[in-house]
């Protein structure tokens, strides 16, 4: 009995799972001719093929949409498993493709079984989501939000009308009451006794004048000082860059390490604006952003991310159709955000590598910044405060070991700050 229950439960759950998978396939694939599983195919495609192939667009290799209709299935099996061997046999179809794509060899995938390949083919037969899709989406969301705003407006309008009515009502009541009072001969207006106006009283009170003027002077001095001290401090400086580069997407959503692009921060005084070849490491195969991201850019920031990627291609001379560099390079003139005066020497490596300071300590939540801005004031007071307050993480650095031990003893065993190491000396930053 129990066993029966278990089996039924198990079968139900299995059935349930199956149902969800098939139900959960939103863009129902075109009836796969040989019945491959498009979902499994998608996973395989992303793992093995996506770095060179796209479904609807030429990349390093050809667009794979409906590849099964262009080639014989058996041919596809042997091509995928070892294209080089196929070309070597002199197969006309294979040689033609080989020549079309600059005689670059496709990796061999002997590990893929025919079923795997079937699955992939099933996935490649997936119709492109209708281009109107997202627009419809946008429209629907737009109308939805629009609807809610309209309803809000109506409520607000109704409230306003009610209030207006109340005000009118009050005035009417007031008038009526006054009329009643007059009719009954009750005095409604009282004469106020003569009093010195408050400003006169204030002027006559010399003490108050003195105190106020002292206060005003101090206040204006305070603000004037603040204004003067902010001259040349560009905290919050967020210039428009020639290419709208979103740190939010790269460092935030995609969690790319800061030092992947700003690699010289580890070695050098400059963090370095990455050279464009670093961008192209990824963007060779990322020509367009995901649809959701695209929409977010349009809605939230008014930026067409895809166009921004095209700017990068223009600068590096990348022809995305031909998938090659055509050699017309035009360096990008980025606007520098963090500008220290020449008289101050700052070294990134000292802070990043030796000091193990996180980039965000000075640069703020970069991973949330759609537009990069100067987070810290970069004033000397700000530097010095940090040098006074920060305890140094000296663990595991052979250079510091002895100095740390000796200094720590000299300072009574307490944790050392940069100031203890001489980080407040003028000549450490000014030479």
């Amino acid at each position: 009995m129990l066993a029966f229950v278990f089996v039924t439960l198990g079968s139900i759950s299995v059935y349930g799972q199956d149902a969800t998978t098939s139900d959960g396939e939103p863009a129902a694939p075109v009836e796969a001719t040989s019945g491959g599983d498009a979902a499994l195919g998608e996973a395989l495609f992303k793992a093995n093929c996506a770095s060179c192939h796209k479904l609807y667009k030429k990349a390093v290799g050809p667009a794979l949409f409906q590849v099964s209709q262009r080639h014989d299935r058996e041919w596809l099996y042997s091509w995928v498993k070892n294209s080089t061997a196929l070309i070597a046999t002199g197969d006309a179809e294979a040689v033609a493709i080989y020549n079309e794509y600059n005689q670059s060899n496709m990796n061999a995938f002997p590990q893929l079984s025919n079923t795997d390949i079937d699955n992939i083919i099933a996935y490649t037969d997936t119709e492109k989501p209708k281009p109107t899709g997202p627009v419809v989406d946008a429209a629907s969301t737009g109308s939805a939000t629009g609807g809610s705003s309209i309803s809000n407006n109506i409520i607000l309008g109704a409230l306003a009308v009610v209030l207006l009515l109340l005000v009118v009502l009050l005035i009417v009541v007031n008038k009526t009451l006054k009329r009643f009072a007059q009719a009954n001969g009750i005095q409604t207006e009282f004469e106020e006794e003569e009093r010195t106006p408050i400003w006169k009283a204030f002027v006559q009170n010399q003490f108050l004048v003195l105190v106020t003027s002292v206060f005003l002077l101090l206040a204006s001095a305070y603000f004037a000082y603040g204004a003067l001290m902010s001259v040349g401090v560009d905290q919050g400086y967020a210039p428009v860059q020639p290419i709208h580069y979103s740190h939010r997407i790269h460092a935030g959503s995609n969690e790319i390490d800061c030092k992947y692009c700003h690699s010289s921060a580890r070695e050098s005084k400059h963090s370095g604006i990455p050279s464009l070849n670093v961008c192209m490491n990824c963007h060779k195969s990322i020509g367009e952003v995901a649809d959701a991201t695209y929409q977010e850019g349009i809605d939230e920031y008014g930026i067409d991310y895809n166009k921004e990627i095209q700017k990068l291609y223009a600068a590096t001379g990348w022809d995305s159709d031909e998938q090659k560099f055509v050699g017309e390079e035009s360096p990008v003139r980025w606007v520098r955000i963090h500008n220290l005066p020449d008289l101050a020497y700052f070294n990134h490596a000292q802070h990043v590598t030796a000091g193990k300071i996180a980039c965000q300590t000075c640069h703020g939540p970069v991973e949330e910044m759609e537009v990069m801005y100067q987070y810290s004031p970069l004033t000397m007071g700000w530097c010095i405060n940090c040098h006074r307050e920060t305890n140094v993480d000296l663990q595991g650095n052979g250079y510091y070991e002895q100095i740390h031990k000796e200094l720590s003893e000299a300072r009574g065993g307490r944790q050392l700050t940069i100031a203890d190491l001489g980080g407040l000396e003028c000549g450490k930053c000014h030479y």
Binding site: D234, L276, L343, Y399, E406, H430, Y431
Partner: protein
């Protein structure tokens, strides 16, 4: 009682009828105030519609507008690479080994580049020979950014392109009609160049290569060739030398190409109570003479006699030589010490006479000297004056159809330059391979613009068997093409010179990549020397001996031409660093002059005097040789042999030289037949010339600035005898000044971390000036120009003081000072100090590099009202420029006078139109060091940026710092090893050991400043 006493200022005032006095009494100012000049134009003033109020309004508005505009920060762009080269990390320096071979200086060097631009030259310590850069080589990086360089090839003075250029020259080359094609070139000593010449010869039937050195070594080359069969120069390694005798050879300077100072300095540092003895016979006071233990001022003729005398004493031959008693006695002593030292002795000859060199070779052979290396000689001088003279004749005769002139400027440097220019015009195709429109290029119809050596490939066999490679450290800045590429193309090859060079170097069996990284490779492949036919003159030793012995003093002055540490032969005359580098001996900048002895000056009526602000003025003299007459200022030089004068070559260029750099007088017209010694007549020409000297006090007046002792006293080992600690009286007890009891100050605790000290060994310092230029390059030291130097406003962070003794020796000076008794009388200090100010006729000379001493008890720090000068835990005295308000209290309170004040903005200022005033020149600026502005004080930082960088590298790697890693620009540049720098908290370090030496002392120790820079007592082996 009223007095009628009249006070008068001059006797003229007593004369009532004196008009001048009357006028002066009526006018408040001696000369009229030029107020009318700017207010006098009444019409203009009245017709102006601007009232005073309007004017004030304008001032107000413009000030407000300017301040508003200033609130808006400038937009700064940052443009990264599109494709970043793998080895470049922005902000990090790269070093490349390369070789300078400009015909005068040959050295293997490291080039420091930042973001792809060379900014500094360092010595290549890996190179076994000639791996050290002198002052000129250090400065050569600035010549890369010379604004006067040509930017394209030139055809008849008009900018052109290489296609057109190749076509035109190619056409003319193919229609030579059997006429000769001559290549007149500098000494290349290059294996690949020789191959290219033979390709050229294969292509064009009638080719001749003539090698020309502006400053040649014909006599030495001829003598060497006569004895050893190859046209080269002997090499010398003085490291183990015991007795060095030099007759007219400035081997510490530029004699035979220089580069001997490293080994020399090693032999000069006393080790186990032993050091070399150096005896110098010379006419001009040279660097070598200044460093010598004994120096005898003798005329060039006497030098010949001395060689004959030495030859007779050591080799034999018994020549009858007439010498003055003093010199004869010294020659006897010299011969004895030469014989005693035997194989560790060496005689050097600087007399421009083949016979003299032949005798010297014979003496060294008789001594079996191991100091001389004739097996692997130096190849860097191969010029032949006679072939050049013959060429001039052939050009005049119309035999030459085409001439290629490469690396030399004969229209400037040939003695009869008019004749050369005239002869040159008879050649129809004249191609100059030059990087600027120099005097010769101006006379050529084609200029094949060549790149700087830092943009070029090349190879140079500096020493036989040792080939040094040149590699580019920057892409060519202009549309230039190097000589080798052009010649390869014109001889029909399609190969690039880089590939050609690679092939050549691989043929010797070395690895190309390794050689390129090291900067050199060794080869046993015998390279053909220049195939030039040289007329050989054979003289027997006996004939040479009698010629030398019978040399008679000519009537007239004997002129010895020399080259200065700064300008050398004049190739880099457009280099402001070199122009402003003080001559190590005279301490004069921006000039050449006639050096003359005090006795001769009196005879001729030549006067040197200091004007009110201390600057030096001198009268002119006219020097005449065979109708060639030049007027030069005369500078009275202590130590100059009577009856001789000296003039420096390399000055007086005007073609392609910026106006400020057109200094001095060209002395090449006196360089007849390429012989540096000539007999001339000298006449006083009156007038006043303004010198710009950086040192005006020439003697130490018996003070304790440079400590000296002799080897014997030093050998006693008792420090009190030669290096006593100054004492002060505390409660009537003499106490050393370093004792904490007499110290006013609390001392910092410097036991943890680094504590930097620098030591300067006065025995090893030759005064060469390489450190000064290295300091300029590293620390962005501005050039201020001649007029400012004359006002003592030079900006050198590091100076090399030179002192003359007033008596025969510094010791005698001190004895004289100590012997003063009262104010007046024979031993009175009043007259005595006056006498001590005058240098002796043949003084002892000592050099002392002085930079900021980084005092632990720094007087400058306590007087700064804004705390711009402060002390670091690591021993450095910091200077925060942005904090300085320019009170100059610190400079006034500094006992060492090492602080420099920026009287003006020296960068981006048309009044100081040197390299910091143009975009090209500014490329040399070190990005790690602030460029100072007007109104701030600056000084040596002990190369803070370099020590900080060393520390950071260690932190990045997580390791301790090894001894020898810390360096400064000057300690790196010091080839003689005089400057040691390091961390004295590291008890194993070299600097710690040096500090414990007996010879260690601090400058002005008695002041109690406790400097972090120390000196080592100079020991003389007299």
């Amino acid at each position: 009682m009223a007095t009628t006493k009249k006070y008068w200022k001059s006797t003229a005032q007593l004369d009532d009828s004196n008009e001048i006095v009357k006028n002066l009494e009526q006018n408040e100012f001696a000369s009229p105030i030029p107020s009318d000049e700017f207010l006098g134009n009444d019409e203009a003033m009245e017709s102006s519609s601007t009232s005073r109020r309007d004017f004030l309004k304008y001032v107000g508005f413009s000030t407000a507008a300017a301040s508003l505009a200033a609130c808006e920060g400038p937009v700064i762009y940052s443009v990264p690479y599109v494709n970043q080269p793998e080895q470049i990390i922005p902000g990090m320096a790269n070093y490349y080994a390369t070789t300078i071979a400009n015909g005068y200086d040959f050295a293997s060097i490291l080039v420091k580049t930042r973001e792809g631009r060379p900014i500094k030259i360092e010595s290549n310590k890996e190179a076994m020979y000639r791996g050290h850069a002198n002052a000129r080589v250090h400065a050569s990086v600035l010549s890369l950014y010379d604004n006067n360089r040509l930017k394209t090839p030139m055809i008849k003075g008009v900018e052109s392109n290489w296609e057109e250029f190749d076509k035109q020259v190619g056409d003319q080359l193919s229609s030579l009609n059997g006429k000769e094609l001559v290549v007149l070139a500098q000494t290349f000593a290059s294996p690949s160049m020789n191959k290219i010449f033979s390709q050229l010869k294969a292509r064009y039937s009638n080719v001749r290569v003539v090698t020309y050195d502006a400053v040649g070594e014909d006599a030495a080359l001829a003598a060497f060739e006569a004895r050893y069969g190859s046209r080269a120069l002997a090499d010398y390694d003085f490291t183990d030398a015991e007795t060095i005798v030099s007759i007219g050879a400035d081997f510490v300077g530029d004699w035979q190409g220089g580069g001997f100072d490293k080994g020399y300095a090693k032999s000069r540092v006393p080790k186990n109570g032993k050091m070399s003895q150096h005896i110098q016979y010379e006419a001009n006071l040279s660097l070598s003479g200044s460093n010598a233990d004994r120096r005898y001022p003798v005329t060039p003729t006497e030098q010949k006699n001395i060689i004959a005398a030495l030859y007779s004493k050591i080799v034999g031959g018994g020549a009858n030589v007439s010498l003055s008693d003093k010199v004869a006695k010294s020659v006897e002593q010299t011969a004895i010490s030469l014989k005693r030292a035997g194989s560790k002795a060496v005689v050097l000859c600087g007399v421009p006479d083949q016979a003299a060199h032949q005798l010297t070779i014979a003496i060294n052979e008789a001594l079996r000297s191991t100091i001389v290396d004739t097996v692997s000689p130096i190849m860097t001088r191969q010029g032949n004056r006679k072939s050049v003279d013959a060429l001039v004749k052939d050009m005049n005769a119309g035999k030459v159809g085409a001439i290629f002139i490469a690396g030399v400027d004969p229209v400037y440097s040939y003695n009869d330059s008019d004749a050369f220019a005239k002869a040159l015009e008879k050649v129809s195709l004249r191609v100059s391979f030059a990087s600027s429109m120099n005097a010769t290029a101006e006379k050529c119809n084609y200029v094949a613009t060549t790149p700087h050596f830092l943009e070029s490939w090349g190879d140079t066999e500096i020493k036989k068997g040792h080939v040094y490679l040149t590699q580019p450290t920057i892409n060519p800045i202009f549309k230039t093409r190097q000589l080798q590429d052009t010649l390869l193309k014109w001889s029909g090859s399609s190969q690039s010179f880089k590939d050609f060079l690679k092939e050549t170097s691989k043929a010797s069996g070395s690895s190309w990549n390794q050689s390129l990284q090291d900067g050199f490779y060794k080869t046993s492949v015998v390279v053909n020397d220049s195939e030039e036919e040289v007329e050989r003159e054979v003289i027997s030793n006996s004939a040479a001996l009698s010629a030398m012995a019978s040399a008679k003093k000519p009537s007239g002055y004997e002129l010895t031409l020399y080259t200065k540490t700064g300008l050398g032969d004049g190739v880099m005359a457009n280099n402001p660093w070199l122009q402003e580098l003080p001559d190590p001996i005279t301490r004069t900048t921006w000039d050449n002059y006639v050096t003359i002895s005090q006795a001769d000056a009196e005879k001729l009526g030549v006067v040197n005097e200091n004007v009110a602000n201390g600057a030096l003025d001198g009268t002119y003299v006219t020097v005449t040789l065979d109708g060639v007459q030049r007027k030069l200022p005369a500078l009275i030089q202590p130590g100059q042999a009577a009856g001789t004068i000296g003039i420096a070559l390399g000055y007086g260029q005007t073609a392609a030289i910026q106006e400020e750099m057109q200094t001095g007088v060209n002395a090449y017209p006196f360089y007849k037949n390429g012989v540096a010694v000539q007999t001339v007549s000298v006449k006083d020409a009156g007038g006043t010339h303004e010198f710009a000297c950086t040192q005006l006090q020439n003697t130490m007046m018996g003070r304790d600035i440079i400590r000296e002792t002799d080897l014997e006293t030093y050998r006693t080992g008792n420090k009190d005898n030669f290096n006593p600690m100054p004492e002060v009286s505390l409660n009537h007890v003499e106490t050393p000044v370093t004792s904490p009891d007499v110290d006013l100050w609390e001392s910092f605790d410097r036991s943890v971390g680094h504590h930097f000290n620098m030591s300067i060994d006065l025995n090893a310092c030759t005064g060469c000036g390489a450190c000064v230029i290295a300091c300029h390059a590293e620390n962005n030291v501005p050039v201020v120009g001649k007029t400012e130097v004359r006002k003592s406003r030079d900006m050198h962070w590091l100076r090399i003081d030179r002192y003359y003794s007033s008596e025969d020796s510094f010791e005698a000076d001190e004895a004289k000072k100590d012997g003063f008794d009262g104010l007046f009388g024979d031993n009175g200090s009043l007259g005595g100090f006056g006498e001590l100010e005058v240098p002796a006729d043949n003084p002892q000379v000592a050099f002392q590099p002085v930079m900021c001493q980084h005092c632990n008890h720094a007087p400058c720090e306590t007087v700064c009202p804004v705390a711009a000068s402060s002390h670091g835990r690591q021993g450095q005295n910091h200077m925060a420029y942005n904090r300085c308000v320019g009170t100059r209290y610190c400079a006034n309170n500094c006992p060492y006078k090492v602080r420099r004040f920026n009287w003006f903005l020296y960068n981006g200022n048309d009044e100081f139109d040197y390299h910091m005033n143009n975009d090209l020149g500014r490329m040399v600026i070190n990005p790690d060091v602030t460029v100072r502005s007007r109104g701030v004080m600056e000084k040596c930082s002990l190369c803070m940026q370099m020590t900080q960088m060393t520390i950071l590298e260690a932190k990045k790697d997580g390791r301790m710092i090894k001894d020898g890693e810390f360096a400064t620009a000057c300690s790196n540049a010091c080839s003689s090893g005089a400057i040691t720098f390091g961390d004295i908290n590291d008890k194993e370090s070299e600097i710690f050991k040096v500090k414990q030496q007996d010879r260690m002392y601090h400058l002005l120790e008695e002041v109690g400043t406790e400097p972090n820079v120390m000196y080592q007592v100079k020991v003389r082996n007299v």
